[in-house]
Symmetry: C2
Protein backbone atom coordinates (compact mmCIF):
# COMPACT_ATOMS: atom_id res chain seq x y z
CA UNK A 1 0.00 0.00 0.00
CA UNK A 2 1.32 3.45 -0.87
CA UNK A 3 1.21 5.46 2.34
CA UNK A 4 2.05 9.16 2.74
CA UNK A 5 2.98 10.47 6.19
CA UNK A 6 2.01 14.12 6.71
CA UNK A 7 3.19 15.60 9.98
CA UNK A 8 6.26 13.49 10.59
CA UNK A 9 6.79 14.36 14.24
CA UNK A 10 7.33 11.64 16.82
CA UNK A 11 3.99 9.97 16.05
CA UNK A 12 4.26 10.13 12.26
CA UNK A 13 7.87 8.94 12.21
CA UNK A 14 7.18 6.07 14.61
CA UNK A 15 4.10 4.60 12.90
CA UNK A 16 5.57 5.27 9.46
CA UNK A 17 8.71 3.40 10.39
CA UNK A 18 6.72 0.40 11.66
CA UNK A 19 4.62 0.33 8.47
CA UNK A 20 7.72 0.48 6.25
CA UNK A 21 9.39 -2.27 8.25
CA UNK A 22 6.30 -4.40 7.62
CA UNK A 23 6.77 -3.98 3.88
CA UNK A 24 4.47 -1.06 3.06
CA UNK A 25 5.55 1.62 0.55
CA UNK A 26 5.89 4.58 2.91
CA UNK A 27 6.62 8.16 1.80
CA UNK A 28 7.49 10.73 4.47
CA UNK A 29 6.81 14.43 4.02
CA UNK A 30 9.69 15.96 6.00
CA UNK A 31 10.91 19.31 7.17
CA UNK A 32 13.35 19.34 10.07
CA UNK A 33 14.52 15.75 9.57
CA UNK A 34 14.78 15.77 5.75
CA UNK A 35 18.58 15.96 5.38
CA UNK A 36 19.32 13.47 8.15
CA UNK A 37 16.74 10.89 7.04
CA UNK A 38 17.47 11.01 3.32
CA UNK A 39 21.20 10.70 4.01
CA UNK A 40 21.27 8.23 6.91
CA UNK A 41 17.81 6.73 7.22
CA UNK A 42 15.64 6.58 10.32
CA UNK A 43 16.61 5.19 13.72
CA UNK A 44 13.87 4.00 16.07
CA UNK A 45 14.76 3.61 19.75
CA UNK A 46 11.90 1.60 21.17
CA UNK A 47 10.99 -0.19 24.36
CA UNK A 48 9.93 -3.00 21.97
CA UNK A 49 13.45 -3.17 20.49
CA UNK A 50 15.49 -0.64 18.50
CA UNK A 51 15.73 -0.82 14.71
CA UNK A 52 17.10 1.15 11.79
CA UNK A 53 15.62 1.80 8.36
CA UNK A 54 18.69 2.64 6.25
CA UNK A 55 16.67 3.69 3.18
CA UNK A 56 13.69 5.97 3.68
CA UNK A 57 11.72 7.87 1.04
CA UNK A 58 11.73 11.45 2.21
CA UNK A 59 10.24 14.46 0.41
CA UNK A 60 10.05 18.19 0.91
CA UNK A 61 6.71 18.74 -0.87
CA UNK A 62 3.54 16.64 -1.26
CA UNK A 63 3.60 17.06 -5.06
CA UNK A 64 6.71 14.87 -5.22
CA UNK A 65 4.73 12.09 -3.51
CA UNK A 66 1.51 12.36 -5.52
CA UNK A 67 -1.67 10.35 -4.97
CA UNK A 68 -1.44 7.76 -2.18
CA UNK A 69 -3.71 4.94 -1.05
CA UNK A 70 -3.55 6.19 2.51
CA UNK A 71 -2.56 9.56 3.94
CA UNK A 72 -1.60 9.30 7.62
CA UNK A 73 -1.96 12.72 9.27
CA UNK A 74 0.14 13.32 12.37
CA UNK A 75 0.23 17.14 12.28
CA UNK A 76 -0.07 19.21 15.43
CA UNK A 77 -3.63 20.52 15.35
CA UNK A 78 -2.52 24.14 15.38
CA UNK A 79 -1.24 23.44 11.84
CA UNK A 80 -4.66 22.26 10.58
CA UNK A 81 -4.93 25.40 8.46
CA UNK A 82 -2.33 23.70 6.23
CA UNK A 83 -4.51 20.64 5.46
CA UNK A 84 -5.39 21.89 1.97
CA UNK A 85 -1.81 22.72 0.97
CA UNK A 86 -0.23 19.56 2.43
CA UNK A 87 -2.88 16.92 1.70
CA UNK A 88 -4.60 17.90 -1.58
CA UNK A 89 -1.69 16.73 -3.82
CA UNK A 90 -1.83 13.31 -2.11
CA UNK A 91 -5.52 12.70 -2.78
CA UNK A 92 -6.56 10.50 -5.73
CA UNK A 93 -9.93 8.86 -6.46
CA UNK A 94 -9.49 6.05 -3.91
CA UNK A 95 -7.35 7.76 -1.30
CA UNK A 96 -8.30 7.32 2.37
CA UNK A 97 -7.17 9.86 4.95
CA UNK A 98 -6.41 8.71 8.48
CA UNK A 99 -5.94 11.37 11.15
CA UNK A 100 -4.13 10.27 14.30
CA UNK A 101 -4.18 13.84 15.67
CA UNK A 102 -5.24 14.88 19.14
CA UNK A 103 -8.57 16.21 20.27
CA UNK A 104 -11.82 16.92 18.49
CA UNK A 105 -12.65 18.58 15.20
CA UNK A 106 -9.97 17.04 12.92
CA UNK A 107 -12.19 14.52 11.09
CA UNK A 108 -14.80 17.24 10.57
CA UNK A 109 -12.25 19.60 9.02
CA UNK A 110 -10.79 16.90 6.75
CA UNK A 111 -14.28 15.77 5.71
CA UNK A 112 -15.21 19.32 4.76
CA UNK A 113 -12.15 19.63 2.52
CA UNK A 114 -11.78 16.17 1.00
CA UNK A 115 -15.17 14.45 1.43
CA UNK A 116 -16.43 12.58 4.49
CA UNK A 117 -16.25 9.18 2.77
CA UNK A 118 -12.45 9.26 2.77
CA UNK A 119 -11.95 10.11 6.40
CA UNK A 120 -10.96 7.68 9.12
CA UNK A 121 -10.15 8.75 12.65
CA UNK A 122 -7.59 7.01 14.77
CA UNK A 123 -7.01 7.48 18.47
CA UNK A 124 -3.43 6.66 19.37
CA UNK A 125 -2.16 6.03 22.88
CA UNK A 126 1.52 6.49 22.21
CA UNK A 127 4.39 7.68 24.41
CA UNK A 128 7.02 8.96 22.02
CA UNK A 129 9.36 11.89 21.56
CA UNK A 130 11.54 13.17 18.76
CA UNK A 131 15.26 12.86 19.30
CA UNK A 132 18.08 14.18 17.13
CA UNK A 133 17.18 14.61 13.44
CA UNK A 134 16.68 11.15 11.96
CA UNK A 135 15.80 9.59 15.32
CA UNK A 136 12.58 8.87 17.14
CA UNK A 137 12.06 7.52 20.65
CA UNK A 138 9.21 5.18 21.51
CA UNK A 139 8.83 5.18 25.30
CA UNK A 140 5.85 2.86 25.60
CA UNK A 141 2.28 2.04 24.57
CA UNK A 142 1.25 2.65 20.97
CA UNK A 143 -2.20 1.12 20.54
CA UNK A 144 -4.57 2.66 18.01
CA UNK A 145 -8.35 2.56 17.83
CA UNK A 146 -9.66 3.24 14.31
CA UNK A 147 -13.12 4.39 13.34
CA UNK A 148 -14.82 5.68 10.22
CA UNK A 149 -16.03 9.25 10.28
CA UNK A 150 -19.12 8.09 8.31
CA UNK A 151 -19.85 4.43 9.08
CA UNK A 152 -19.83 3.11 5.51
CA UNK A 153 -17.04 0.64 4.73
CA UNK A 154 -16.19 -1.15 7.93
CA UNK A 155 -14.36 -3.85 5.97
CA UNK A 156 -11.77 -1.38 4.69
CA UNK A 157 -11.23 -0.07 8.21
CA UNK A 158 -10.88 -3.62 9.54
CA UNK A 159 -8.29 -4.28 6.83
CA UNK A 160 -6.41 -1.14 7.84
CA UNK A 161 -6.44 -2.31 11.47
CA UNK A 162 -5.05 -5.67 10.32
CA UNK A 163 -2.29 -3.84 8.43
CA UNK A 164 -1.28 -2.01 11.63
CA UNK A 165 -1.37 -5.30 13.56
CA UNK A 166 0.97 -6.89 10.99
CA UNK A 167 3.26 -3.90 11.56
CA UNK A 168 3.37 -4.68 15.28
CA UNK A 169 0.79 -2.16 16.49
CA UNK A 170 -2.03 -3.17 18.82
CA UNK A 171 -4.93 -1.92 16.70
CA UNK A 172 -8.67 -2.45 16.48
CA UNK A 173 -11.58 -0.93 14.63
CA UNK A 174 -14.53 0.54 16.49
CA UNK A 175 -18.02 1.49 15.37
CA UNK A 176 -18.01 4.44 17.80
CA UNK A 177 -15.14 6.72 16.91
CA UNK A 178 -16.68 9.52 19.00
CA UNK A 179 -16.44 7.42 22.15
CA UNK A 180 -12.80 6.55 21.42
CA UNK A 181 -11.98 10.25 20.92
CA UNK A 182 -13.61 11.22 24.22
CA UNK A 183 -11.94 8.34 26.06
CA UNK A 184 -8.60 9.74 25.02
CA UNK A 185 -9.64 13.23 26.12
CA UNK A 186 -10.26 11.83 29.61
CA UNK A 187 -6.48 11.43 29.75
CA UNK A 188 -5.37 14.26 27.49
CA UNK A 189 -7.29 17.12 29.09
CA UNK A 190 -5.97 16.80 32.65
CA UNK A 191 -2.47 15.54 31.93
CA UNK A 192 -1.59 17.60 28.87
CA UNK A 193 -3.14 20.67 30.47
CA UNK A 194 -1.75 20.45 33.99
CA UNK A 195 1.71 19.22 32.98
CA UNK A 196 2.05 22.01 30.41
CA UNK A 197 0.77 24.65 32.83
CA UNK A 198 2.95 23.58 35.77
CA UNK A 199 5.86 22.29 33.67
CA UNK A 200 5.85 19.05 35.65
CA UNK A 201 5.78 15.44 34.42
CA UNK A 202 2.82 13.19 35.25
CA UNK A 203 4.39 11.51 38.29
CA UNK A 204 4.66 14.80 40.22
CA UNK A 205 0.96 15.48 39.67
CA UNK A 206 0.04 12.01 40.86
CA UNK A 207 2.27 12.12 43.95
CA UNK A 208 0.12 14.48 46.07
CA UNK A 209 -3.44 13.91 47.21
CA UNK A 210 -4.69 17.39 46.23
CA UNK A 211 -3.36 17.36 42.67
CA UNK A 212 -4.32 13.70 42.15
CA UNK A 213 -7.84 14.59 43.24
CA UNK A 214 -7.84 17.54 40.84
CA UNK A 215 -6.87 15.22 37.95
CA UNK A 216 -9.72 12.87 38.89
CA UNK A 217 -12.24 15.73 39.12
CA UNK A 218 -11.21 17.02 35.69
CA UNK A 219 -11.59 13.48 34.30
CA UNK A 220 -15.11 13.30 35.74
CA UNK A 221 -16.03 16.57 34.04
CA UNK A 222 -14.81 15.16 30.71
CA UNK A 223 -16.68 11.89 31.25
CA UNK A 224 -19.90 13.82 31.98
CA UNK A 225 -19.51 15.83 28.76
CA UNK A 226 -18.69 12.66 26.79
CA UNK A 227 -21.75 10.84 28.07
CA UNK A 228 -23.97 13.72 26.94
CA UNK A 229 -22.85 13.23 23.30
CA UNK A 230 -24.96 10.15 22.55
CA UNK A 231 -22.29 7.44 22.77
CA UNK A 232 -23.25 3.82 22.07
CA UNK A 233 -22.08 2.89 25.58
CA UNK A 234 -21.42 5.52 28.25
CA UNK A 235 -17.94 5.89 29.76
CA UNK A 236 -18.06 4.65 33.36
CA UNK A 237 -16.84 7.03 36.09
CA UNK A 238 -14.44 4.27 37.17
CA UNK A 239 -12.59 4.80 33.88
CA UNK A 240 -10.96 7.79 35.63
CA UNK A 241 -9.40 5.52 38.24
CA UNK A 242 -8.14 3.07 35.65
CA UNK A 243 -6.51 6.00 33.78
CA UNK A 244 -4.86 7.18 37.02
CA UNK A 245 -3.44 3.71 37.61
CA UNK A 246 -2.33 3.42 33.98
CA UNK A 247 -0.52 6.74 34.36
CA UNK A 248 1.11 5.71 37.65
CA UNK A 249 3.06 3.18 35.60
CA UNK A 250 4.37 5.85 33.19
CA UNK A 251 6.94 7.31 35.58
CA UNK A 252 8.33 10.75 34.72
CA UNK A 253 6.47 10.96 31.41
CA UNK A 254 6.02 14.42 29.87
CA UNK A 255 2.86 14.76 27.77
CA UNK A 256 3.24 16.27 24.31
CA UNK A 257 1.77 19.63 25.35
CA UNK A 258 4.37 20.01 28.10
CA UNK A 259 7.11 19.40 25.54
CA UNK A 260 5.45 21.81 23.11
CA UNK A 261 5.53 24.47 25.81
CA UNK A 262 9.13 23.74 26.82
CA UNK A 263 10.15 24.10 23.19
CA UNK A 264 8.17 27.28 22.67
CA UNK A 265 5.70 25.76 20.18
CA UNK A 266 2.02 26.72 20.10
CA UNK A 267 -0.26 24.53 22.25
CA UNK A 268 -3.11 22.36 20.92
CA UNK A 269 -5.65 24.22 23.05
CA UNK A 270 -8.36 24.42 20.41
CA UNK A 271 -8.56 20.69 19.61
CA UNK A 272 -7.95 19.38 23.13
CA UNK A 273 -9.82 22.02 25.19
CA UNK A 274 -11.97 24.55 23.41
CA UNK A 275 -13.74 22.16 21.02
CA UNK A 276 -14.62 19.62 23.77
CA UNK A 277 -15.78 22.54 25.98
CA UNK A 278 -18.04 23.73 23.17
CA UNK A 279 -19.51 20.21 22.72
CA UNK A 280 -20.07 19.99 26.50
CA UNK A 281 -21.65 23.42 26.66
CA UNK A 282 -24.02 22.56 23.76
CA UNK A 283 -25.36 19.73 25.91
CA UNK A 284 -25.55 21.85 29.07
CA UNK A 285 -22.62 20.19 30.87
CA UNK A 286 -20.70 22.50 33.22
CA UNK A 287 -16.94 21.96 33.08
CA UNK A 288 -15.58 24.67 35.41
CA UNK A 289 -12.19 23.04 35.97
CA UNK A 290 -11.59 22.28 32.28
CA UNK A 291 -12.64 25.82 31.37
CA UNK A 292 -10.30 27.25 34.02
CA UNK A 293 -7.43 25.06 32.81
CA UNK A 294 -7.95 26.17 29.20
CA UNK A 295 -8.02 29.81 30.27
CA UNK A 296 -4.86 29.44 32.36
CA UNK A 297 -3.06 27.75 29.44
CA UNK A 298 -4.08 30.47 27.00
CA UNK A 299 -3.08 33.13 29.49
CA UNK A 300 0.29 31.53 30.22
CA UNK A 301 0.98 31.14 26.50
CA UNK A 302 0.83 34.96 26.34
CA UNK B 1 1.24 55.36 72.72
CA UNK B 2 4.03 52.79 72.77
CA UNK B 3 3.66 50.74 69.62
CA UNK B 4 5.72 47.68 68.65
CA UNK B 5 5.87 46.67 64.98
CA UNK B 6 6.34 42.92 64.49
CA UNK B 7 6.84 41.86 60.91
CA UNK B 8 8.39 44.99 59.49
CA UNK B 9 7.97 44.20 55.79
CA UNK B 10 6.45 46.75 53.43
CA UNK B 11 3.20 46.95 55.41
CA UNK B 12 4.78 47.15 58.88
CA UNK B 13 7.38 49.70 57.82
CA UNK B 14 4.83 51.89 56.05
CA UNK B 15 2.21 52.08 58.79
CA UNK B 16 4.90 52.26 61.50
CA UNK B 17 6.48 55.22 59.74
CA UNK B 18 3.15 57.05 59.49
CA UNK B 19 2.43 56.44 63.18
CA UNK B 20 5.88 57.68 64.21
CA UNK B 21 5.53 60.77 62.01
CA UNK B 22 2.24 61.48 63.83
CA UNK B 23 4.09 61.50 67.16
CA UNK B 24 3.58 57.96 68.44
CA UNK B 25 6.40 56.09 70.19
CA UNK B 26 7.09 53.39 67.59
CA UNK B 27 9.52 50.49 68.08
CA UNK B 28 10.40 48.37 65.07
CA UNK B 29 11.46 44.74 65.41
CA UNK B 30 13.85 44.41 62.46
CA UNK B 31 15.83 41.77 60.64
CA UNK B 32 16.95 42.55 57.11
CA UNK B 33 16.67 46.33 57.49
CA UNK B 34 18.19 46.64 61.00
CA UNK B 35 21.62 48.04 60.06
CA UNK B 36 20.32 50.45 57.44
CA UNK B 37 17.47 51.81 59.56
CA UNK B 38 19.39 52.22 62.81
CA UNK B 39 22.20 53.97 60.94
CA UNK B 40 20.29 56.09 58.42
CA UNK B 41 16.64 56.04 59.40
CA UNK B 42 13.70 55.11 57.22
CA UNK B 43 12.80 56.56 53.81
CA UNK B 44 9.21 56.41 52.63
CA UNK B 45 8.55 56.89 48.92
CA UNK B 46 4.84 57.49 48.71
CA UNK B 47 2.24 58.54 46.17
CA UNK B 48 1.02 60.82 49.01
CA UNK B 49 4.46 62.50 49.24
CA UNK B 50 7.89 61.14 50.21
CA UNK B 51 9.31 61.62 53.71
CA UNK B 52 12.26 60.56 55.82
CA UNK B 53 12.41 59.55 59.48
CA UNK B 54 16.07 60.17 60.38
CA UNK B 55 15.81 58.56 63.84
CA UNK B 56 14.02 55.26 64.16
CA UNK B 57 14.00 52.88 67.13
CA UNK B 58 15.05 49.54 65.71
CA UNK B 59 15.60 46.30 67.64
CA UNK B 60 16.78 42.82 66.92
CA UNK B 61 14.77 41.06 69.66
CA UNK B 62 11.36 41.70 71.25
CA UNK B 63 12.87 41.56 74.77
CA UNK B 64 14.69 44.83 74.06
CA UNK B 65 11.30 46.45 73.37
CA UNK B 66 9.36 45.03 76.32
CA UNK B 67 5.66 45.56 77.05
CA UNK B 68 3.87 47.85 74.57
CA UNK B 69 0.41 49.42 74.50
CA UNK B 70 -0.15 48.13 70.99
CA UNK B 71 1.55 45.39 69.01
CA UNK B 72 1.02 45.80 65.27
CA UNK B 73 1.53 42.44 63.54
CA UNK B 74 2.50 42.54 59.86
CA UNK B 75 4.15 39.12 59.59
CA UNK B 76 3.67 36.95 56.55
CA UNK B 77 1.20 34.31 57.70
CA UNK B 78 3.58 31.44 56.97
CA UNK B 79 5.59 32.81 59.94
CA UNK B 80 2.64 32.56 62.36
CA UNK B 81 4.39 29.72 64.17
CA UNK B 82 6.67 32.45 65.56
CA UNK B 83 3.85 34.41 67.28
CA UNK B 84 4.78 33.12 70.74
CA UNK B 85 8.49 33.86 70.41
CA UNK B 86 8.08 37.30 68.80
CA UNK B 87 5.01 38.68 70.61
CA UNK B 88 5.06 37.26 74.18
CA UNK B 89 7.81 39.65 75.40
CA UNK B 90 5.74 42.62 74.15
CA UNK B 91 2.59 41.72 76.07
CA UNK B 92 1.81 43.46 79.39
CA UNK B 93 -1.45 43.62 81.34
CA UNK B 94 -3.08 46.22 79.05
CA UNK B 95 -1.47 45.38 75.70
CA UNK B 96 -3.70 45.19 72.62
CA UNK B 97 -2.59 43.17 69.61
CA UNK B 98 -3.59 44.33 66.11
CA UNK B 99 -3.03 41.94 63.22
CA UNK B 100 -2.99 43.48 59.75
CA UNK B 101 -2.07 40.15 58.18
CA UNK B 102 -3.74 38.56 55.18
CA UNK B 103 -6.43 35.94 55.13
CA UNK B 104 -8.30 34.06 57.81
CA UNK B 105 -7.21 32.43 61.05
CA UNK B 106 -4.79 35.03 62.41
CA UNK B 107 -7.05 36.53 65.09
CA UNK B 108 -8.00 33.04 66.22
CA UNK B 109 -4.37 31.99 66.60
CA UNK B 110 -3.44 35.19 68.48
CA UNK B 111 -6.50 34.85 70.74
CA UNK B 112 -5.55 31.30 71.63
CA UNK B 113 -2.06 32.38 72.67
CA UNK B 114 -2.62 35.78 74.29
CA UNK B 115 -6.34 35.95 75.16
CA UNK B 116 -9.21 36.97 72.87
CA UNK B 117 -9.84 40.25 74.73
CA UNK B 118 -6.57 41.72 73.47
CA UNK B 119 -7.03 40.92 69.79
CA UNK B 120 -8.08 43.39 67.12
CA UNK B 121 -8.17 42.54 63.46
CA UNK B 122 -7.42 45.03 60.73
CA UNK B 123 -7.99 44.61 57.03
CA UNK B 124 -5.58 46.75 55.06
CA UNK B 125 -5.94 47.63 51.39
CA UNK B 126 -2.40 48.74 50.74
CA UNK B 127 -0.22 48.69 47.63
CA UNK B 128 3.33 48.74 48.88
CA UNK B 129 6.67 47.04 48.27
CA UNK B 130 9.97 46.94 50.06
CA UNK B 131 12.83 48.70 48.37
CA UNK B 132 16.51 48.78 49.34
CA UNK B 133 17.17 48.24 53.07
CA UNK B 134 15.85 51.27 54.92
CA UNK B 135 13.36 52.14 52.20
CA UNK B 136 9.70 51.40 51.64
CA UNK B 137 7.53 52.20 48.61
CA UNK B 138 3.87 53.11 48.96
CA UNK B 139 2.25 52.73 45.54
CA UNK B 140 -1.31 53.61 46.46
CA UNK B 141 -4.34 52.96 48.67
CA UNK B 142 -3.75 52.22 52.36
CA UNK B 143 -7.14 52.23 54.03
CA UNK B 144 -7.68 50.03 57.07
CA UNK B 145 -10.88 48.60 58.53
CA UNK B 146 -10.52 47.66 62.21
CA UNK B 147 -12.67 45.27 64.19
CA UNK B 148 -12.52 43.58 67.56
CA UNK B 149 -12.15 39.82 67.60
CA UNK B 150 -14.58 39.74 70.59
CA UNK B 151 -16.91 42.73 70.44
CA UNK B 152 -16.24 44.14 73.91
CA UNK B 153 -14.58 47.58 73.92
CA UNK B 154 -15.65 49.36 70.77
CA UNK B 155 -14.53 52.69 72.24
CA UNK B 156 -10.92 51.56 72.36
CA UNK B 157 -11.11 50.39 68.76
CA UNK B 158 -12.69 53.69 67.70
CA UNK B 159 -9.82 55.48 69.44
CA UNK B 160 -7.32 53.34 67.58
CA UNK B 161 -9.05 54.17 64.29
CA UNK B 162 -8.82 57.87 65.20
CA UNK B 163 -5.11 57.44 65.89
CA UNK B 164 -4.60 55.99 62.39
CA UNK B 165 -6.65 58.82 60.90
CA UNK B 166 -4.42 61.39 62.68
CA UNK B 167 -1.46 59.56 61.11
CA UNK B 168 -2.94 60.08 57.64
CA UNK B 169 -4.56 56.67 57.15
CA UNK B 170 -8.14 56.31 55.98
CA UNK B 171 -9.38 54.13 58.84
CA UNK B 172 -12.70 53.11 60.33
CA UNK B 173 -13.94 50.65 62.93
CA UNK B 174 -16.50 48.00 62.04
CA UNK B 175 -18.70 45.79 64.16
CA UNK B 176 -18.32 42.96 61.62
CA UNK B 177 -14.66 42.10 61.28
CA UNK B 178 -15.57 38.80 59.62
CA UNK B 179 -17.28 40.64 56.75
CA UNK B 180 -14.29 42.94 56.28
CA UNK B 181 -11.94 39.93 56.15
CA UNK B 182 -14.07 38.17 53.53
CA UNK B 183 -14.43 41.36 51.47
CA UNK B 184 -10.69 41.50 51.18
CA UNK B 185 -10.55 37.82 50.22
CA UNK B 186 -12.83 38.60 47.27
CA UNK B 187 -9.85 40.50 45.88
CA UNK B 188 -6.99 38.51 47.39
CA UNK B 189 -8.01 35.03 46.32
CA UNK B 190 -8.25 35.60 42.56
CA UNK B 191 -5.53 38.21 42.14
CA UNK B 192 -2.90 36.91 44.54
CA UNK B 193 -3.53 33.39 43.33
CA UNK B 194 -3.65 33.89 39.57
CA UNK B 195 -0.87 36.49 39.43
CA UNK B 196 1.43 34.25 41.50
CA UNK B 197 0.57 31.16 39.46
CA UNK B 198 0.98 32.80 36.05
CA UNK B 199 3.66 35.32 37.09
CA UNK B 200 1.65 38.12 35.52
CA UNK B 201 0.55 41.46 36.98
CA UNK B 202 -3.15 42.26 37.39
CA UNK B 203 -3.54 44.20 34.14
CA UNK B 204 -2.65 41.17 31.98
CA UNK B 205 -5.32 39.09 33.72
CA UNK B 206 -7.90 41.80 33.19
CA UNK B 207 -7.05 42.36 29.53
CA UNK B 208 -8.64 39.20 28.10
CA UNK B 209 -12.27 38.18 28.28
CA UNK B 210 -11.60 34.58 29.36
CA UNK B 211 -9.26 35.42 32.23
CA UNK B 212 -11.36 38.40 33.34
CA UNK B 213 -14.37 36.08 33.46
CA UNK B 214 -12.36 33.57 35.47
CA UNK B 215 -11.47 36.28 38.01
CA UNK B 216 -15.16 37.20 38.31
CA UNK B 217 -16.22 33.56 38.74
CA UNK B 218 -13.65 33.06 41.49
CA UNK B 219 -14.91 36.22 43.20
CA UNK B 220 -18.47 34.86 43.06
CA UNK B 221 -17.36 31.63 44.73
CA UNK B 222 -15.73 33.64 47.54
CA UNK B 223 -18.82 35.83 47.93
CA UNK B 224 -21.03 32.72 48.20
CA UNK B 225 -18.78 31.27 50.92
CA UNK B 226 -18.68 34.64 52.72
CA UNK B 227 -22.45 34.96 52.74
CA UNK B 228 -22.77 31.51 54.32
CA UNK B 229 -20.77 32.67 57.38
CA UNK B 230 -23.54 34.67 59.06
CA UNK B 231 -22.44 38.20 58.16
CA UNK B 232 -24.48 41.15 59.45
CA UNK B 233 -25.06 42.24 55.84
CA UNK B 234 -24.36 39.93 52.89
CA UNK B 235 -21.80 40.90 50.25
CA UNK B 236 -23.63 41.73 47.02
CA UNK B 237 -22.58 39.84 43.86
CA UNK B 238 -22.03 43.26 42.23
CA UNK B 239 -19.11 43.76 44.64
CA UNK B 240 -17.14 41.57 42.20
CA UNK B 241 -17.62 44.07 39.40
CA UNK B 242 -16.65 47.01 41.59
CA UNK B 243 -13.45 45.13 42.55
CA UNK B 244 -12.69 44.49 38.86
CA UNK B 245 -13.08 48.19 38.09
CA UNK B 246 -11.01 49.16 41.14
CA UNK B 247 -8.26 46.83 39.88
CA UNK B 248 -8.43 48.21 36.33
CA UNK B 249 -7.09 51.45 37.81
CA UNK B 250 -4.07 49.72 39.41
CA UNK B 251 -2.13 49.26 36.15
CA UNK B 252 0.74 46.75 36.21
CA UNK B 253 0.38 46.04 39.93
CA UNK B 254 1.93 42.82 41.25
CA UNK B 255 0.10 41.38 44.28
CA UNK B 256 2.22 40.38 47.26
CA UNK B 257 1.98 36.67 46.52
CA UNK B 258 3.39 37.19 43.03
CA UNK B 259 6.35 39.04 44.54
CA UNK B 260 6.74 36.33 47.20
CA UNK B 261 6.96 33.76 44.44
CA UNK B 262 9.37 35.81 42.32
CA UNK B 263 11.63 36.17 45.33
CA UNK B 264 11.41 32.49 46.25
CA UNK B 265 9.55 33.04 49.54
CA UNK B 266 6.86 30.68 50.79
CA UNK B 267 3.30 31.60 49.73
CA UNK B 268 0.46 32.50 52.14
CA UNK B 269 -1.67 29.64 50.84
CA UNK B 270 -2.99 28.54 54.24
CA UNK B 271 -4.39 31.90 55.35
CA UNK B 272 -5.61 33.11 51.95
CA UNK B 273 -6.84 29.81 50.44
CA UNK B 274 -7.02 26.76 52.65
CA UNK B 275 -8.67 28.37 55.69
CA UNK B 276 -11.38 30.13 53.62
CA UNK B 277 -11.95 26.87 51.70
CA UNK B 278 -12.42 25.05 55.02
CA UNK B 279 -14.93 27.69 56.21
CA UNK B 280 -16.80 27.41 52.90
CA UNK B 281 -16.81 23.63 53.01
CA UNK B 282 -18.17 23.65 56.61
CA UNK B 283 -21.19 25.55 55.28
CA UNK B 284 -21.58 23.33 52.23
CA UNK B 285 -20.38 25.88 49.68
CA UNK B 286 -18.64 24.39 46.63
CA UNK B 287 -15.61 26.41 45.52
CA UNK B 288 -14.17 24.34 42.66
CA UNK B 289 -12.14 27.15 41.10
CA UNK B 290 -10.68 28.35 44.41
CA UNK B 291 -9.82 24.77 45.34
CA UNK B 292 -8.16 24.23 41.94
CA UNK B 293 -6.21 27.47 42.25
CA UNK B 294 -4.94 26.53 45.74
CA UNK B 295 -3.91 23.10 44.48
CA UNK B 296 -2.09 24.56 41.47
CA UNK B 297 -0.25 27.04 43.71
CA UNK B 298 0.82 24.32 46.14
CA UNK B 299 1.90 22.13 43.25
CA UNK B 300 3.84 24.91 41.55
CA UNK B 301 5.56 25.81 44.82
CA UNK B 302 7.01 22.27 44.75
Amino acid sequence: MKIAIVGAGALGLYYGALLQRAGEDVHFLLRRDFEAIVRNGLKVFSTDGDFVLPHVKGYRTPDEIGAADLVLVGLKTFANDRYEELIRPLVGAETRILTLQNGLGNEEALAALFGPERVIGGVAFLCSNRGEPGEVHHLGAGRITLGEFLPRDREWTEALAALFVRAGVECRATGDLKRARWEKLVWNIPFNGLCALLQQPVNLLLARDASRTLVREIMHEVIAAANAQGLTVPIAPAYADSMLEFTDRMGEYKPSMQIDREEGRPLEIWAIFRTPLAYGSQRGIAMPRVEMLATLLEQSAG
